[in-house]
């Protein structure tokens, strides 16, 4: 019972070449392929204890919304895909803005001192809005710093301009661009090792023109590639999604779009809805850590 060649991650042309010359099993290859060892190498095995220790040391992006952070076990986990879904106006974009800023705060006050990348697909990135939120956060930050008076840390460390500079904004108009961005990010991230957050707002908009199975395949591929980068460079991935109507034979109900197979790929799903002008409700629908919990909170406005 030998491992066949077609189980290796080889390009089609190479596979065909090997198979036409009747090299069907990996054991037949040996010297003819110098990188065979690499291709046959499985991922590293870790014990659950090692995984646990690593997770404890891994950070998370705090939202600075206490009930939300508590229910998430500290904040948005790094290396995972978290989705915010909700109807238009439910606060998804706003919370993304807030996270792009909070990730930049210095570590002593709970931030990660990192950069953020915002990939916008429906022109929702309103820089003036981000600036406003940044100003409010800065005001609070100044108060916080004064209260706790860390002597040698000055105001110059962080300010609104710096915050805006450390958010990289990319506008994509269709799904091919979205896929290209990920390829582009592979190299870009090597030059920007402090990126701690990548936001895609929204993931469903550019996939609208496609049909069901294509949407799943592309969303999957996108998240798969991004999550690989996320584990390598240690950043969090946030995506936003809309709500759509689904029909059963007797009734209709609301559900996040893109379907069940895509849902399977997410690590966390948080449903947002707006209750009043600044009060939001969040329901943790899927999480590695906790079962369904509902909380209410207000955002910095």
């Amino acid at each position: 019972m030998h491992q066949p060649v077609h189980s290796l991650s080889l390009p089609e042309c190479k596979l065909r070449e090997l198979q036409t010359s009747e090299f069907n099993y990996c054991k037949d290859l040996d010297a003819s392929m110098p990188y065979l060892d690499q291709l046959m190498k499985p991922p590293v095995t870790k014990t659950a204890l090692e995984v646990y220790n690593e997770e404890c040391q891994q950070g998370c992006v705090r939202t600075f919304v206490e009930p939300l952070d508590n229910v998430l076990g500290g904040g948005i986990p790094l290396g995972e895909v978290t989705e915010f879904c909700g109807e238009p106006g439910s606060g998804k974009t706003q919370i993304c803005f807030q996270l792009c800023i909070s990730v930049q705060l210095p570590t002593w006050c709970g931030g990660l001192n990192g950069e953020a990348v915002y990939i916008g697909t429906n022109c929702d990135f309103a820089s003036h809005r981000v600036k406003e939120i940044a100003k409010r956060i800065m005001d609070r930050y100044v108060l916080f710093e004064a209260k706790h008076s860390f002597g040698n840390i000055g105001l110059n460390e962080i300010n609104v301009e710096l915050i805006m500079e450390r958010i990289s904004y990319i506008n994509v108009s269709d799904y091919t661009q979205m896929l290209l961005i990920v390829t582009y990010l592979k190299d870009w991230l090597h030059d920007h090792p402090t990126v701690k957050l990548i936001v895609i707002d929204s993931i469903c908009a550019p996939l609208k023109p496609l049909d069901g199975s294509q949407r799943t395949t592309i969303a999957y591929q996108l998240l798969q590639d991004l999550q690989k980068l996320a584990k390598e460079h240690n950043f969090a991935i946030i995506v936003t999604n809309n709500i759509t109507t689904r029909f059963t034979c007797s009734s209709s109900y609301l559900a996040p779009s893109l379907g069940d197979n895509y849902y399977h790929r997410l690590n966390n799903r948080i449903y947002l809805c707006k209750k009043s002008s600044n009060v939001f409700k969040a329901v943790l629908l899927k999480s590695l850590f906790n079962s369904q919990t509902e909380i209410e909170f207000s955002l910095i406005s």
Binding site: T45, A48, F247, N261
Partner: protein, 312 residues
Amino acid sequence: MSRLNPQMHPLLNSPVLEALLAKNIYTVLNFIETEIKHIVAITNLQYKEVLGIRKHLINKYAAVTRDGVSYYNEIITKSALFSTGIKRLDSILQGGFLTGNIYEICGLPASGKTQLNLTLVRNVAQNSILNVYYIDTKNDFSGRKLKAVLDASKTDEEHVKQIMSQILVKKVDTVHDLINTLYEIKNLLYTKTIKLRLIIIDSLPPLFYSISDFSKRYGLITTMVNVMHVLAKEFHTAIVVTNVLTTSYENTSTEDISGKIGLGKYWYNVPNTRLTIKKFENSSECSIIIAKSNRLLEGAQCNVKITDAGII
């Protein structure tokens, strides 16, 4: 098929192999399919010598012949029926997981599959000193979650550490990684480096969505299934695989929106037992039903509860 090489038989030296290659006889199967007299003509070997090579190759590459009695004894001594740790599930499984079988757990999203997997891996590691493999394809395994489950069930710290060291976690991204992993486990079991009864793969569909060519997809599923069968039957392990059920909302027929099982037609018939898990609305209770099985009673059902300490 296996390519002919000099290590296979002392008479298969370079000039003989070259002569065979020149006549398009590359593999063992090509050699066996060709009549002996043709081989004699091509290679100038004796009839008896070719017959000897043929016999040797068939012996080496055919399946192992086992007589009924010794096969039965082997199964009795080496198989294990081990408890899942969940009493009600054990009762519908007639004792628990039986090695040599592939079990599938499928359910709609958020029906409790990952919770069930964590409970199983915790229970099996707790009740023995053997390792358990947890192969995670979508980065869903959380050490913190496992620890929380162990802490909630009031296990003492030393024991928690030991259980967590027994569980081997592999994070795989692609189906190639998974197949490499399964072959690695096969080698480890063959060299008796580890002792294993349970392998959990959570879950299969994410690995195949990026492969759009269905012929390639099914070919890879077959390869994966073949090595799973080897692990299950020859090395006496039980393999538990998670699959998705998706609601087909594009199909507005009068039938119930019952789930459509992922991975396609070929996989549908592979598992020995298929368990469907369904969560009751607004409750922490789930039902587990045997949807299909070779040996267990189909339709048998049990209700379990999701708690902080796992599924009971």
